[in-house]
């Protein structure tokens, strides 16, 4: 038979050696740990103490057992009397004491509807739901995408991935609602035509799963696990028109501002980057701002619809704070401790408020008044952490997807009918821009 040896061509770099990975120097535990810090680390395999000892001796070259151990004496005063370790208070928090003051309107505490979302992936870093301007709610359940027509109640299965091990990692509707962008675990960015229920394009440019997507007219931006963000011009064959390298870990939050001027990205590296829509003089994209204050992954990223340049961000488990920024000045306008992992933030145009979705231990949605940051109300019901939030085109309903495999629709921003009429009058006066379809 034939010998199985292949000849490998040496890389083009002059003098470069073939890269031989060395398993013992790979930091497998750390890699797995870093990738999953917002998710439950149920798969952690701790090292044994004996192994660690041997490792220590080999590494250090000296026998650490022979070392002298010194303890720093003269300890400072402990935390003051009555200080209870905040972690316990944080993670076992009961309902907020004292009633929130009566807000001006009635917000139902129960969801309007509860939909089944079986097999929805319980992965903090993905963005699995989006609601179109044509009133279709798209939901990714593992390797399939379903469309729920909110008007008729009809459910369609749009797609199912070919390989059973692949899954859908992000969804985003184009503004007009006729095309749906789908990011996958095998690094693809697919474009689907809803009317024909056909796949128009399959754009491959990433090398790892695409967990976040955001549209800016005909530009689709995608964020991947490598930390890279790609801009795709969906009208042309050579779709990959730009690469933004500003994160060293998964990009889980990605949102273009409403005026298309800036792109905000949040990553598992705890950074928030604000990108301009045009390249700098060098031809490269560089962030105009980088915010480092969050101590956890930033997936919740949302632009204020009525105040340009104001951005809200929320941090993961080790951070739990919501921060408001002015992206022009770089100033942090306000901060509030939400006491729980923040997965998503949405602004309401109907009321000057925003809503946030949370995880352990309440799994609640919180509505906050802007700019006072006072809590308007909390919506409870989910029995496991909230993963994503999305809003209906009329702005009255918020849908939340959670790890309890349900989608709940909360009618929390319903407009007062009189105010609604006034708003509609004002909107119709604006000129409408006709968009060309995508060839």
């Amino acid at each position: 038979g034939k010998s199985g040896s292949k000849i490998q061509s040496t890389p083009t770099k002059a003098g470069g050696d073939r890269y031989i990975p060395n398993r013992s120097t790979m930091q497998m535990e750390i890699a797995s740990f870093l990738l999953t810090k917002e998710n439950d680390p149920a798969e952690e395999s701790p090292t044994k103490k004996e192994q660690q000892k041997a490792w220590a001796v080999n590494l250090n070259g000296f026998d650490i057992e022979e070392a002298k151990i010194l303890r720093l004496s003269g300890k400072p005063q402990n935390a003051p009397e009555g200080y209870q370790n905040k972690l316990k208070v944080l993670y076992s928090q009961q309902k907020t004491p004292g009633s929130s003051r009566k807000n001006g309107r009635y917000i139902p505490s129960m969801p309007d509807r509860i939909l089944d979302a079986p097999e929805i992936r319980n992965d903090y870093y993905l963005n699995l739901i989006d609601w179109s301007s044509q009133n279709f709610l798209a939901v990714a359940l593992d390797n399939s995408v379903y469309l729920w027509n909110h008007t008729s109640g009809e459910i369609i299965q749009l797609l199912q991935m070919e390989h059973p091990d692949d899954y859908v990692s992000s969804l985003s509707w184009i503004k007009e609602g006729n095309y749906l962008a789908v990011g996958t675990s095998n690094a693809e960015v697919q474009l689907w035509d809803i009317q024909q229920q056909k796949r128009l394009r399959n754009m491959t440019s990433h090398s790892s799963r695409v967990g976040s997507l955001s549209w800016n007219s005909y530009i689709l931006s995608s964020g991947a696990r490598t930390g890279h963000i790609h801009h795709h011009d969906v009208r042309v064959a050579e779709h990959h028109v730009a690469t933004l390298a500003g994160h060293t870990q998964e990009v889980c939050g990605l949102k273009w501002s409403l005026n298309g001027r800036y792109l905000a990205s949040g990553g598992n590296d705890n950074l928030v980057n604000i990108w301009p829509c045009t390249q700098g003089d060098s031809g490269d994209f560089a962030p105009v701002q980088t915010f480092t204050q969050h101590q956890g992954a930033v997936k919740a990223v949302a632009w204020c619809p009525w105040q340009s340049n104001v951005l809200a961000t929320g941090g993961g488990t080790s951070d739990r704070h919501i921060r408001l920024w002015n992206v022009c000045s770089g100033a942090c306008l306000s901060t509030v401790d939400a006491h729980s992992q923040v997965c998503s933030i949405l602004w309401s145009t109907n009321y000057k408020e925003f809503i946030s979705g949370h995880g352990f231990s309440q799994n609640q949605l919180v509505i906050w008044k802007y700019p006072t940051m006072a809590k308007v109300t909390e919506l409870r019901g989910h029995t496991s952490r909230v993963l994503n939030l999305t809003m209906s085109p009329d702005g009255a309903t918020v849908a939340s997807a959670a790890a309890d495999e349900t989608l709940r629709l909360w009618r929390c921003f319903e407009m007062d009918p009189i105010k609604k009429k006034e708003k509609e009058k004002a909107n119709s006066a604006k000129s409408s821009i006709i968009h060309q379809g995508i060839r």
């Binding site: 952690e44 980088t290 956890g296």
Partner: protein, 194 residues
Amino acid sequence: IPLLRSSLSLARVAAYGINSILYQRGIYPPETFTRVQKYGLTLLVTTDPELKNYLNNVVEQMKGGMGCIVQRLVVVISSIENNEVLERWQFDIECDKTAKNESAPREKSQKAIQDEIRSVIRQITATVTFLPLLETACAFDLLIYTDKDLAVPENWEESGPQFIANSEEVRLRSFTTTIHKVNSAVAYKKDSFP
């Protein structure tokens, strides 16, 4: 002198690391910490003057002398009530004694070192997601492992290793400066979780 410079930055990283642990594990009230920008990160450091002073002793120890003296730095967190050790953070410092050797990778850029330090600090922050809650009020202890022939300096006393009896351990990321290589791990008391 590259060895001295590396020891200085190592000492500073140690201080920030310890501060992060004290903040994230809730050993001291969060209100007593303030934010500083360093290594492209927002770090939390204590404003408590006594605590600051206390931590300085560690920094001094690591700075002083030849910088190869401290082999391991340990932060021990134990319950005030019964002195039981609940958590143990261990930083192993490998020092390239042949620092004069030209083959040492001295071209390691500041940026590369900063990136690694950033990773370690971020890892400490992220451990909150899996470390068991510290239910009782806790105190911390700082231990250093050093050469057995070294004279015990002022402010320090000999001690045992203060291992945790029944522990789970997680190895964290390592980072290297031009001279030092630091490996970190955290061990915590195995608890009976529902």
